[in-house]
């Protein structure tokens, strides 16, 4: 799910919940006995995860496990680079329709189905920054 849906009702149904569970499981595995943690999550522009929903879901899951959790979300701009000709460009310069953005939201790599290098036309480009969800730091005492 993308966009500015209201959190409370929607948070239970959208797919950001699954990503929040992944982050939660990552925290549980990394710090199995911690009762207070801080988790910093990097959110790549390409996947366009709904920050509000992700944060809400993560807090709910942590609360239900009795863990006090500080959530820090960091947006990362998406940079693309062509492996054929070396050209680098920003996702911001690209326009996609709503359908395509939704597809990329679920599986960011399908950007290769909808985008070509603006300079040479190759689809052999890399998302060098700003793909999706990454745990930048879990810290605990």
């Amino acid at each position: 799910m993308r966009g500015d849906a209201k959190y409370s009702g929607v948070a239970r149904v959208v797919h950001e919940w699954a990503l929040a569970e992944a982050i939660a499981d990552y925290v549980f595995k990394t710090a199995p006995s911690a009762k207070r943690v801080r988790v910093t999550v990097r959110l790549g522009e390409l996947q366009a995860v709904d920050e509000g929903i992700l944060e809400f879901a993560l807090r709910e899951i942590m609360k239900s496990e009795g863990i006090e959790c500080e959530v820090v979300l960091k947006r990362e701009d998406c940079v693309l680079k062509c492996r054929k000709c070396g050209y680098e460009w920003l996702l911001k310069e690209v326009e996609f329709g709503e359908e395509v953005r939704e597809a990329i939201h679920f599986v960011p790599e399908v950007v290769h189905s909808y985008l070509k290098c603006p300079k040479c036309g190759s689809r052999d480009f890399e998302v060098i920054k700003g793909r999706g969800v990454w745990v930048e730091e879990v810290s605990w005492e």
């Binding site: 799910m1 239970r12 149904v13 959208v14 797919h15 919940w17 699954a18 990503l19 569970e21 992944a22 982050i23 499981d25 990552y26 549980f28 595995k29 990394t30 710090a31 939704e102 597809a103 990329i104 679920f106 599986v107 960011p108 790599e109 399908v110 290769h112 189905s113 909808y114 689809r123 052999d124 890399e126 793909r131 999706g132 969800v133 990454w134 745990v135 930048e136 730091e137 879990v138 810290s139 605990w140 005492e141």
Partner: protein, 247 residues
């Protein structure tokens, strides 16, 4: 104060598969031996026998299982705390093709690995007796991901009795028998035309199971895309006998 960083998706895979009893990746280093058709028919046949079945197309850069099943790609799967694979012919079917459509999806290996992680992390299978996985030819990221990320699995190796297939399948069986117990690996001969025992012998040599032959069925290509027609094909009857042995 301790600190760690990494990919959260791998951490959740165990939870996603917690209620999946058996994982059956359908494999063969050789292309065109019938992995996709067999995966689809096997999933349908298991489901017809009352099993709760999921089917995952992991041939990421060339998905075709949706063509066999005639799946509707025009809308995205529903979301419910994750992505819920649509029911097709009684089977929960997941594929990257829902998102790539019929466009080309050229990907480098680490991008394929990313797709596999993403799909495994967000797909909500629920309770399954079988998760059947269609895989691509070769031994690249998709196949290594299946072997490395799934806590347990029972590979079904598809072979045809041609010399190039036998070369490829021998390499795959060597790899699989190193990592998985022989009794959990099973070989199926597909497109059998006579009573050659070359594939059965190969299975015996590697001390893995042999589930029998699926005969060459001239009509099956015409049934592609239509589940009812597939269920009436001779190939389906043969695959149903393989399904019985797996149950």
């Amino acid at each position: 104060m301790m600190v760690a960083q990494g990919d959260p998706r791998l951490a959740v895979i165990g939870r996603r598969l917690a209620r999946v009893a058996r994982v059956v990746p359908v494999m063969s280093s050789k292309g065109g031996v019938g992995k996709t058709l067999l995966s689809c028919l096997l999933a349908l046949a298991l489901s017809e026998r009352g099993a709760r079945v999921g089917l995952l197309d992991l041939d990421v850069t060339n998905p075709t299982a949706h063509v066999v099943l005639g799946a509707d790609l025009s809308k995205f799967p529903e979301e419910d705390r994750g992505v819920v694979p649509p029911l097709i012919g009684g089977v929960k079917f997941m594929s990257v093709a829902y998102y790539s459509g019929e466009n080309p999806l050229p990907l480098r290996g680490w991008e394929i690995d990313n797709v596999v992680r993403e799909v495994l992390a967000v797909t909500i299978w629920g309770d399954l007796d079988f998760l059947v996985i269609d895989t691509p030819p070769g031994i690249g990221d998709e196949v290594l991901d299946v072997l490395s990320y799934f806590p347990k699995h029972e590979p079904l190796v598809v072979a045809t009795p041609s010399p190039l297939t036998v070369t490829s399948v021998r390499r795959l069986l060597k790899l699989l028998t190193e990592a998985v117990k022989g009794e959990l690996i099973r070989v199926v001969e597909n497109m059998a035309r006579d009573n050659s025992s070359i594939i059965a012998d190969l299975a015996r040599k590697f001390r893995v199971g042999f589930l029998g032959k699926v005969r060459f069925d001239e009509g099956v290509d015409r049934a592609v895309g239509d589940i009812d027609a597939l269920r009436e094909s001779r190939m389906y009857r043969d695959v149903s006998m393989i399904a019985e042995k797996l149950l």
